[in-house]
Amino acid sequence: MERIYFDHSATTPVDREVAKVMLEYMTEKFGNPSSVHSFGRETRKAVEEARSSVAALLGAAANEIFFTSGGTESDNLALKGIAFANRKKGNHIITTAVEHHAILHACEYLEKQGFTVTYLPVDENAMVSVEDVKNAITDKTILISVMFANNEVGTIQPIKEIGQLAKEKKIYFHTDAVQAVGNCHIDVNELNIDVLSLSGHKIYGPKGIGAIYIRKGVKIESTQHGGSQERKLRPGTENVPGIVGLGKAAELAKIELDQRISHLTNLRDKLINGIQEKISDIKLNGHKEIRLPGNVNISFFYVEGESLLLNLDLKGIAASSGSACTSGSLDPSHVLLAMGLTHEVAHGSLRLSLGRGNTEADVNYCLEVLPQILERLRSMSPLNANSKLAANNPCSQCDHH
């Protein structure tokens, strides 16, 4: 059976060219960039070239880019590194309720360390209000962290406006752009971004590598201690193949960006429209227009996400869900709940995240299969348009959990 991959927000395949250059830096050019000899010098050069490629994608300077092990580490470094380095200035951080767990759990950790965190609410489209950000600022605020685009529902936040506000108030502005890089035009200067996180494996680059952009002059301290790599901000032998792969992926993202955006937007809209035409009792999650070009997130009433996913998987389609059952936690997606969805609607959410390798045929196949699956699952469900949903009742079975 042919497999169709609609889970690019979870991870992307590594581009062939990227893999090829990585292979070269594993077996042939394997030196440690800190070494004085020729093996070291050739990898040092490659690392610095990759740094320039990543910088170019963001409109940054090469010496403002630092390599990490991924989006999670970049997020942790941004939050903790800035919080601890600027503790004397203040202890207040502003973020949103719909951030990735890398941000939310780092914030919870910082709260235990004496910081105060404001988690801004979002509207029904998962959009943060600039006014809310403004009102949350106190004279103790040292950092605002708002994600560029949401990983679940794709909503793109008013980054430029928040950045402008932060700049005026002289507060550092970090954005988790893990989902946005390679999918949106980003210029850190135009958008007033001080610190930005990105991850290799979301842009057809390798897993286990990420980067953080840190505007020159931003006060930040390292969270990992050791050698003097990455100007001591991020010690540890450089992951040269990962870095070189990320550099190549960034290069490709820059070249292909416009083409990717139009291709994905086209497929996305076709998929959304098709589902809306063919299937009733659904809800599109996230902002209608201001969303990631490849993101489709829809709640299908009366069914549960995991069983939907498994049925799609049996038909060869890989997707994702905001259902608690797929997250290993008991509550469904904190993003969907923050948008005001009821638990049962959140449980029935499906995320189809498209990538550059997807085709119209993939979309058509999905539109053929999905209605059949929905019909089957709904026929098995005790819920329907007429059932009194227990959403607002206390959960009588929670002791089973």
Partner: protein, 123 residues
Amino acid sequence: MYTEKVMDHFTNPRNVGEIENANGVGEVGNAKCGDIMRIYLDVQDDIIKDVKFKTFGCGAAIATSSMVTELVMGKTLDEALKISNDAVAEALDGLPPAKMHCSNLAADALHEAIKDYISKKGK
């Protein structure tokens, strides 16, 4: 993640549906929790002549519902009452740890349905 048996019961669930004149119905779970299981019984002379289910829930929830209906079809109520959630999971060659306590409620739904039958009969 899931065993072959789970996938079999998930893909081809046995005894899906409602029994029009069921003399015992049990429901456990809650949409908020992500799992609702409803079991319909047709009991004759303390024997389960027919059993059907409807379930909103994940793969494990559907498979355990299906499995429990197979396990009790034709059994006496006493035998059916002895079937535990763990026994259902075992009959499916096990469930992932995270699912053992979340979605393994089918035996509870069955017991609720039997209770419903008994209380109705008592009247």
